[in-house]
Symmetry: C2
Subunit: 140 residues, 2 copies
DNA sequence: TAAATTCACTTGCAAAAAGCAAGTGGTTAA
DNA sequence: TTAACCACTTGCTTTTTGCAAGTGAATTTA
Protein backbone atom coordinates (compact mmCIF):
# COMPACT_ATOMS: atom_id res chain seq x y z
CA UNK A 1 0.00 0.00 0.00
CA UNK A 2 1.89 3.01 -1.34
CA UNK A 3 1.72 6.18 0.69
CA UNK A 4 0.17 9.11 -1.11
CA UNK A 5 1.23 12.60 -0.05
CA UNK A 6 -1.50 14.21 2.03
CA UNK A 7 -2.25 17.89 1.65
CA UNK A 8 -3.75 18.14 5.13
CA UNK A 9 -5.23 16.04 7.93
CA UNK A 10 -8.79 16.54 6.67
CA UNK A 11 -10.36 13.17 5.76
CA UNK A 12 -12.03 14.73 2.71
CA UNK A 13 -8.76 16.12 1.42
CA UNK A 14 -6.96 12.82 2.11
CA UNK A 15 -9.68 10.90 0.30
CA UNK A 16 -9.45 13.21 -2.70
CA UNK A 17 -5.67 12.78 -2.66
CA UNK A 18 -6.31 9.15 -3.61
CA UNK A 19 -9.37 9.14 -5.87
CA UNK A 20 -10.18 12.81 -6.44
CA UNK A 21 -9.98 12.89 -10.21
CA UNK A 22 -12.28 12.37 -13.16
CA UNK A 23 -11.61 8.65 -13.59
CA UNK A 24 -11.00 6.73 -10.37
CA UNK A 25 -14.60 6.61 -9.19
CA UNK A 26 -15.72 5.50 -12.65
CA UNK A 27 -13.47 2.47 -12.28
CA UNK A 28 -15.03 1.81 -8.88
CA UNK A 29 -18.46 2.28 -10.44
CA UNK A 30 -17.69 -0.31 -13.13
CA UNK A 31 -16.52 -2.77 -10.48
CA UNK A 32 -19.62 -2.09 -8.42
CA UNK A 33 -21.81 -3.30 -11.23
CA UNK A 34 -19.54 -6.34 -11.17
CA UNK A 35 -20.03 -6.99 -14.82
CA UNK A 36 -16.78 -5.44 -15.93
CA UNK A 37 -13.68 -6.77 -14.35
CA UNK A 38 -10.90 -6.96 -16.94
CA UNK A 39 -8.63 -4.24 -18.30
CA UNK A 40 -10.38 -4.40 -21.65
CA UNK A 41 -13.80 -4.03 -20.04
CA UNK A 42 -12.79 -0.75 -18.41
CA UNK A 43 -11.62 0.52 -21.79
CA UNK A 44 -15.03 -0.30 -23.25
CA UNK A 45 -16.91 1.98 -20.83
CA UNK A 46 -18.80 4.88 -22.35
CA UNK A 47 -16.40 7.52 -21.07
CA UNK A 48 -13.52 6.14 -23.14
CA UNK A 49 -10.59 6.35 -20.78
CA UNK A 50 -7.16 6.41 -22.41
CA UNK A 51 -5.24 3.18 -21.90
CA UNK A 52 -2.23 4.75 -20.20
CA UNK A 53 -4.48 6.70 -17.81
CA UNK A 54 -6.37 3.51 -17.00
CA UNK A 55 -3.13 1.71 -16.24
CA UNK A 56 -2.03 4.57 -13.99
CA UNK A 57 -5.34 4.71 -12.11
CA UNK A 58 -5.48 0.96 -11.62
CA UNK A 59 -1.99 1.11 -10.11
CA UNK A 60 -2.93 3.92 -7.72
CA UNK A 61 -6.18 2.25 -6.72
CA UNK A 62 -4.38 -1.03 -6.15
CA UNK A 63 -1.54 0.49 -4.15
CA UNK A 64 -4.13 2.36 -2.06
CA UNK A 65 -5.85 -0.93 -1.31
CA UNK A 66 -9.12 -0.04 -3.05
CA UNK A 67 -8.91 -2.70 -5.75
CA UNK A 68 -6.98 -5.96 -6.15
CA UNK A 69 -5.61 -7.83 -9.15
CA UNK A 70 -6.48 -11.50 -9.32
CA UNK A 71 -6.22 -14.48 -11.61
CA UNK A 72 -9.00 -14.69 -14.13
CA UNK A 73 -10.90 -18.01 -13.99
CA UNK A 74 -11.15 -18.23 -17.78
CA UNK A 75 -7.64 -17.52 -18.92
CA UNK A 76 -4.11 -16.72 -17.83
CA UNK A 77 -4.01 -13.90 -20.37
CA UNK A 78 -6.79 -12.05 -18.56
CA UNK A 79 -6.63 -10.22 -15.25
CA UNK A 80 -9.55 -10.02 -12.86
CA UNK A 81 -9.91 -6.70 -11.10
CA UNK A 82 -11.99 -6.62 -7.94
CA UNK A 83 -12.95 -4.20 -5.22
CA UNK A 84 -11.45 -4.81 -1.80
CA UNK A 85 -13.41 -4.14 1.39
CA UNK A 86 -11.96 -0.61 1.28
CA UNK A 87 -13.28 -0.21 -2.24
CA UNK A 88 -16.67 -1.69 -1.41
CA UNK A 89 -16.92 0.89 1.35
CA UNK A 90 -16.93 3.60 -1.30
CA UNK A 91 -20.42 2.45 -2.25
CA UNK A 92 -22.25 5.01 -0.06
CA UNK A 93 -20.18 7.80 -1.61
CA UNK A 94 -21.03 6.58 -5.08
CA UNK A 95 -24.73 6.25 -4.25
CA UNK A 96 -24.88 9.84 -2.98
CA UNK A 97 -23.18 11.03 -6.16
CA UNK A 98 -25.81 9.16 -8.16
CA UNK A 99 -28.57 10.80 -6.14
CA UNK A 100 -27.05 14.25 -6.60
CA UNK A 101 -26.65 13.62 -10.28
CA UNK A 102 -30.25 12.51 -10.51
CA UNK A 103 -31.34 15.99 -9.41
CA UNK A 104 -29.32 17.89 -12.00
CA UNK A 105 -28.86 15.74 -15.08
CA UNK A 106 -31.10 14.04 -17.60
CA UNK A 107 -31.03 10.33 -16.91
CA UNK A 108 -31.27 7.28 -19.14
CA UNK A 109 -34.07 4.80 -18.49
CA UNK A 110 -31.47 2.48 -17.08
CA UNK A 111 -30.40 4.97 -14.42
CA UNK A 112 -33.99 5.96 -13.65
CA UNK A 113 -34.74 2.31 -12.86
CA UNK A 114 -31.53 1.91 -10.91
CA UNK A 115 -32.19 4.98 -8.76
CA UNK A 116 -35.78 3.99 -8.18
CA UNK A 117 -34.50 0.82 -6.54
CA UNK A 118 -31.92 2.75 -4.58
CA UNK A 119 -34.51 5.16 -3.21
CA UNK A 120 -37.00 2.50 -2.15
CA UNK A 121 -34.68 1.77 0.76
CA UNK A 122 -31.24 3.30 0.45
CA UNK A 123 -29.68 1.63 3.45
CA UNK A 124 -31.05 -1.73 2.46
CA UNK A 125 -29.81 -1.32 -1.09
CA UNK A 126 -26.32 -0.48 0.12
CA UNK A 127 -26.29 -3.39 2.55
CA UNK A 128 -27.44 -5.87 -0.08
CA UNK A 129 -24.96 -4.76 -2.70
CA UNK A 130 -22.17 -4.66 -0.13
CA UNK A 131 -22.92 -8.26 0.86
CA UNK A 132 -23.05 -9.32 -2.76
CA UNK A 133 -19.70 -7.73 -3.54
CA UNK A 134 -18.12 -9.26 -0.44
CA UNK A 135 -19.26 -12.70 -1.53
CA UNK A 136 -17.65 -12.24 -4.92
CA UNK A 137 -14.33 -11.57 -3.24
CA UNK A 138 -14.60 -14.79 -1.23
CA UNK A 139 -15.33 -16.88 -4.33
CA UNK A 140 -11.94 -15.98 -5.81
CA UNK B 1 -24.85 28.31 -16.09
CA UNK B 2 -22.08 27.28 -18.48
CA UNK B 3 -22.43 23.89 -20.10
CA UNK B 4 -19.65 21.48 -19.31
CA UNK B 5 -18.86 18.76 -21.84
CA UNK B 6 -20.23 15.43 -20.65
CA UNK B 7 -18.26 12.26 -21.25
CA UNK B 8 -21.36 10.07 -21.04
CA UNK B 9 -24.94 10.04 -19.78
CA UNK B 10 -23.95 8.45 -16.46
CA UNK B 11 -24.86 10.77 -13.56
CA UNK B 12 -21.63 9.88 -11.77
CA UNK B 13 -19.54 10.74 -14.79
CA UNK B 14 -21.47 13.98 -15.35
CA UNK B 15 -21.02 14.95 -11.71
CA UNK B 16 -17.31 14.30 -11.89
CA UNK B 17 -17.16 16.37 -15.07
CA UNK B 18 -18.06 19.36 -12.87
CA UNK B 19 -16.39 18.80 -9.54
CA UNK B 20 -14.26 15.68 -10.02
CA UNK B 21 -10.88 17.10 -9.11
CA UNK B 22 -8.74 17.54 -6.04
CA UNK B 23 -10.01 21.03 -5.12
CA UNK B 24 -13.69 21.64 -5.89
CA UNK B 25 -15.13 19.65 -3.01
CA UNK B 26 -12.70 21.30 -0.61
CA UNK B 27 -14.20 24.65 -1.56
CA UNK B 28 -17.65 23.19 -0.95
CA UNK B 29 -16.41 21.82 2.37
CA UNK B 30 -15.16 25.24 3.44
CA UNK B 31 -18.51 26.79 2.54
CA UNK B 32 -20.33 24.04 4.39
CA UNK B 33 -18.63 25.06 7.62
CA UNK B 34 -19.88 28.53 6.72
CA UNK B 35 -16.99 30.19 8.46
CA UNK B 36 -14.98 30.78 5.34
CA UNK B 37 -16.66 32.75 2.66
CA UNK B 38 -14.20 35.15 1.06
CA UNK B 39 -11.53 34.51 -1.53
CA UNK B 40 -8.82 35.08 1.05
CA UNK B 41 -10.41 32.61 3.44
CA UNK B 42 -10.22 29.83 0.84
CA UNK B 43 -6.54 30.61 0.33
CA UNK B 44 -5.97 30.22 4.08
CA UNK B 45 -7.24 26.61 4.16
CA UNK B 46 -4.74 23.97 5.19
CA UNK B 47 -4.40 22.48 1.72
CA UNK B 48 -2.91 25.71 0.32
CA UNK B 49 -4.62 26.00 -3.04
CA UNK B 50 -2.82 28.16 -5.61
CA UNK B 51 -4.58 31.46 -6.24
CA UNK B 52 -5.06 30.97 -9.99
CA UNK B 53 -6.47 27.48 -9.44
CA UNK B 54 -8.84 28.85 -6.82
CA UNK B 55 -10.04 31.52 -9.22
CA UNK B 56 -10.61 28.91 -11.93
CA UNK B 57 -12.52 26.55 -9.59
CA UNK B 58 -14.70 29.33 -8.22
CA UNK B 59 -15.61 30.26 -11.79
CA UNK B 60 -16.52 26.69 -12.71
CA UNK B 61 -18.49 26.14 -9.52
CA UNK B 62 -20.33 29.41 -10.05
CA UNK B 63 -21.11 28.75 -13.69
CA UNK B 64 -22.35 25.28 -12.74
CA UNK B 65 -24.70 26.84 -10.22
CA UNK B 66 -23.08 25.27 -7.17
CA UNK B 67 -21.91 28.51 -5.57
CA UNK B 68 -22.85 32.16 -5.93
CA UNK B 69 -20.93 35.42 -5.56
CA UNK B 70 -22.59 38.04 -3.40
CA UNK B 71 -21.92 41.43 -1.83
CA UNK B 72 -20.07 41.22 1.44
CA UNK B 73 -21.93 42.95 4.29
CA UNK B 74 -18.71 44.43 5.71
CA UNK B 75 -17.04 45.90 2.68
CA UNK B 76 -17.26 46.49 -1.04
CA UNK B 77 -13.70 45.21 -1.40
CA UNK B 78 -14.73 41.76 -0.20
CA UNK B 79 -16.78 39.14 -2.00
CA UNK B 80 -19.08 36.75 -0.20
CA UNK B 81 -19.13 33.24 -1.64
CA UNK B 82 -22.09 31.05 -0.76
CA UNK B 83 -23.46 27.64 -1.61
CA UNK B 84 -26.61 27.57 -3.71
CA UNK B 85 -29.31 24.95 -3.18
CA UNK B 86 -27.45 22.82 -5.73
CA UNK B 87 -24.28 23.20 -3.69
CA UNK B 88 -26.03 22.51 -0.39
CA UNK B 89 -27.30 19.29 -1.93
CA UNK B 90 -23.71 18.08 -2.16
CA UNK B 91 -23.74 17.76 1.62
CA UNK B 92 -24.69 14.03 1.63
CA UNK B 93 -21.83 13.30 -0.76
CA UNK B 94 -19.41 15.20 1.46
CA UNK B 95 -20.65 13.44 4.59
CA UNK B 96 -20.14 10.01 3.03
CA UNK B 97 -16.62 11.01 2.01
CA UNK B 98 -15.98 12.05 5.62
CA UNK B 99 -17.27 8.70 6.84
CA UNK B 100 -15.13 6.78 4.36
CA UNK B 101 -12.11 8.87 5.31
CA UNK B 102 -12.79 8.17 8.97
CA UNK B 103 -12.26 4.46 8.34
CA UNK B 104 -8.91 4.81 6.60
CA UNK B 105 -7.12 7.90 7.90
CA UNK B 106 -5.93 9.16 11.25
CA UNK B 107 -8.24 11.93 12.35
CA UNK B 108 -7.70 15.10 14.34
CA UNK B 109 -9.69 15.57 17.54
CA UNK B 110 -11.75 18.11 15.67
CA UNK B 111 -12.83 15.62 13.04
CA UNK B 112 -13.42 12.89 15.61
CA UNK B 113 -15.88 15.18 17.40
CA UNK B 114 -17.46 16.26 14.14
CA UNK B 115 -18.01 12.71 12.96
CA UNK B 116 -19.31 11.63 16.34
CA UNK B 117 -22.11 14.17 15.90
CA UNK B 118 -22.70 13.06 12.31
CA UNK B 119 -23.04 9.43 13.32
CA UNK B 120 -25.44 10.02 16.18
CA UNK B 121 -28.11 10.62 13.56
CA UNK B 122 -26.80 11.07 10.05
CA UNK B 123 -30.06 12.03 8.40
CA UNK B 124 -30.89 14.48 11.17
CA UNK B 125 -27.44 16.04 10.95
CA UNK B 126 -27.77 16.53 7.20
CA UNK B 127 -31.27 17.98 7.55
CA UNK B 128 -30.21 20.42 10.25
CA UNK B 129 -27.12 21.64 8.42
CA UNK B 130 -29.08 21.89 5.17
CA UNK B 131 -31.69 24.08 6.87
CA UNK B 132 -29.00 26.22 8.46
CA UNK B 133 -27.24 26.77 5.14
CA UNK B 134 -30.52 27.58 3.41
CA UNK B 135 -31.27 30.25 6.01
CA UNK B 136 -27.91 31.85 5.40
CA UNK B 137 -28.74 32.21 1.74
CA UNK B 138 -32.03 33.94 2.57
CA UNK B 139 -30.33 36.42 4.89
CA UNK B 140 -28.27 37.80 2.03
C1' DT C 1 2.23 -26.33 -35.31
C1' DA C 2 2.61 -21.88 -37.34
C1' DA C 3 0.12 -17.66 -37.90
C1' DA C 4 -3.26 -14.55 -36.52
C1' DT C 5 -5.67 -12.65 -32.75
C1' DT C 6 -6.53 -11.29 -28.07
C1' DC C 7 -5.04 -9.34 -23.90
C1' DA C 8 -2.81 -6.26 -20.70
C1' DC C 9 -0.28 -3.16 -20.77
C1' DT C 10 4.02 0.49 -22.33
C1' DT C 11 6.09 4.23 -24.90
C1' DG C 12 6.53 8.65 -27.17
C1' DC C 13 4.83 12.90 -28.01
C1' DA C 14 1.66 17.02 -28.09
C1' DA C 15 -1.75 19.55 -25.51
C1' DA C 16 -3.85 20.86 -21.36
C1' DA C 17 -3.82 21.74 -16.53
C1' DA C 18 -1.46 22.57 -12.12
C1' DG C 19 1.63 25.06 -9.39
C1' DC C 20 4.56 28.98 -8.19
C1' DA C 21 5.71 33.83 -7.83
C1' DA C 22 5.04 38.30 -8.93
C1' DG C 23 1.95 41.93 -10.41
C1' DT C 24 -2.51 44.84 -10.89
C1' DG C 25 -6.27 47.69 -9.88
C1' DG C 26 -10.04 48.84 -7.04
C1' DT C 27 -11.29 49.58 -1.64
C1' DT C 28 -10.47 50.81 2.85
C1' DA C 29 -7.95 52.02 7.12
C1' DA C 30 -4.35 55.13 9.21
C1' DT D 1 -2.87 60.86 0.99
C1' DT D 2 -0.57 57.07 1.57
C1' DA D 3 -0.12 52.41 2.93
C1' DA D 4 -2.32 48.16 3.37
C1' DC D 5 -5.93 44.92 1.99
C1' DC D 6 -8.62 42.42 -1.14
C1' DA D 7 -9.78 39.75 -5.18
C1' DC D 8 -8.01 38.41 -8.58
C1' DT D 9 -4.56 38.11 -13.21
C1' DT D 10 -0.32 37.13 -15.68
C1' DG D 11 3.76 34.69 -17.02
C1' DC D 12 6.37 30.87 -16.65
C1' DT D 13 7.77 25.99 -15.41
C1' DT D 14 6.41 21.45 -14.17
C1' DT D 15 3.20 17.82 -14.13
C1' DT D 16 -0.66 15.40 -15.91
C1' DT D 17 -3.73 14.12 -19.63
C1' DG D 18 -4.85 12.38 -23.94
C1' DC D 19 -3.90 10.19 -28.30
C1' DA D 20 -1.73 6.77 -31.23
C1' DA D 21 1.23 3.31 -32.01
C1' DG D 22 3.89 -0.51 -30.24
C1' DT D 23 5.21 -4.80 -27.31
C1' DG D 24 5.24 -9.36 -25.50
C1' DA D 25 2.78 -13.13 -23.44
C1' DA D 26 -1.39 -16.17 -23.89
C1' DT D 27 -4.81 -18.10 -26.76
C1' DT D 28 -7.43 -19.22 -30.69
C1' DT D 29 -7.49 -20.40 -35.67
C1' DA D 30 -5.99 -22.46 -40.03
Amino acid sequence: MKEIKKRSVCPVSSSLDIWGDKWSLLIVRDLMYAKQCTYGDFLKSDEKIATNILAARLLTLESSGIISKNEHPESKAKVLYQLTEKGINLLPVLIEIYLWGEKYFTLSDYHIEFLKKVKEDKQQFINNLTQKLRKEILNT
